[in-house]
């Protein structure tokens, strides 16, 4: 173990703010990208499903009529 204590670990020899702001923002951006991707997948498949059902509903009467 290279750290004498956990507080020494968080302090990073006085560079704590620079190190943790680097890692923290990177972690936030990665999590944000994953959440945005998931919400896009959900909203996109929902919208495409709606469009598909609307398209089928318009076709229905023709199918029944023929």
């Amino acid at each position: 173990m290279i750290w004498e204590s956990w507080s020494a670990f968080w302090e990073m020899g006085g560079s704590g703010p620079f190190v943790w702001a680097s890692y923290g923002v990177t972690a936030i951006l990665i999590i944000a990208e994953l959440l945005l991707l998931r919400s896009r997948r959900v909203s996109s498949t929902r919208k495409l499903n709606r469009l598909m059902r609307a398209g089928q509903a318009r076709k229905m009467p023709e199918v029944q009529g023929s």
Binding site: F18, V19, Y23, L29, R40, V42, T45
Partner: protein, 254 residues
């Protein structure tokens, strides 16, 4: 016919319909690899790598700064490659691959700039200087954002693919400029710590931590791009019968 069936046919997977399930199988595998490598890389970076003799602890930013910077350049080159393939062979999937990679490349580009600023302040005394390396990396971020804005703005899919591909190919010129900027100009940014031609100028445990994090960034990028390209394929191919089937299946699963 029999020869094309017996041989592995790469062109088969150029069809969105064939690639969609493959991407779905591969993406979670790369996601698990990315998570495992990230944990291993952070472990090496924070608990195995010693304090740097010159810089103290602040050098630990390197474990995200360098992999992010490498990834931001490499992803743009891969986008340019897919753009060239798309323009030459007229394959729809190529442009979708480039579009799926762009947000992740932009994210890594921003991370490289952000961590660089936070590393620059304690070591150079400045968050930002207008030297060749930093300026060309900032230009790369604008190229990513410009590409994403362009692709979002063009409604017609064919024109969108073509316009995006041309921007990618022209913008790719910037990547070697970034890479060699520290050689071509007298920059505040240090030269390459790692190169293929000479021994690395850093301790091997530090180097291995950085390389593990770089591999993690690769796996992450592949996983996210595959997940994203699946959504793009569904949007683009929404009139195809197989997509209707898949949408029905997804609709029932929700």
């Amino acid at each position: 016919m029999s020869t094309s069936e017996s041989r592995f046919n790469l062109y088969h997977y150029a069809a969105p319909q064939a690639f969609y399930p493959v991407a779905g199988k591969l993406a979670p595998i790369f996601a698990v690899i990315a998570a495992a490598l990230t944990l291993a890389g952070l472990w090496i970076g924070f608990f195995k790598a010693p304090t740097d003799a010159v810089q103290g602890e602040v050098y630990r930013i390197i474990f995200i700064h360098v992999p992010a910077a490498w990834m931001s350049m490499f992803v743009f080159l891969v986008m340019a490659f897919w753009s060239a393939v798309g323009l030459a062979m007229n394959t729809r999937l190529s442009a979708l691959m480039a579009q799926a990679l762009a947000p992740t490349g932009a994210m890594f580009c921003f991370v490289a700039l952000w961590t660089g600023a936070l590393w620059g302040r304690p070591t150079w005394g400045a968050y930002w200087v207008w030297d060749a390396r930093l300026t060309s990396q900032l230009l790369l971020l604008f190229l990513y954002l410009g590409y994403m804005a362009l692709v979002a703005a063009v409604d017609d899919p064919r024109r969108r693919d073509k316009a995006g591909a041309i921007l990618c190919l022209v913008g790719a010129v910037n990547v070697p400029i970034i890479y060699f900027s520290v050689k071509w100009w007298n920059t505040l940014h240090q030269g390459a710590s790692v190169s293929l031609t000479k021994a690395p100028s850093m301790a091997s445990i530090m180097l291995s931590g950085m390389l593990v994090m770089a591999l993690a960034a690769w796996a992450y990028t592949i996983a996210v791009a595959l997940y994203r390209v699946r959504v793009l394929i569904l949007e683009r191919e929404r009139h195809a019968d197989w997509v209707r089937g898949e949408l029905t299946r997804l609709g029932e699963a929700n």
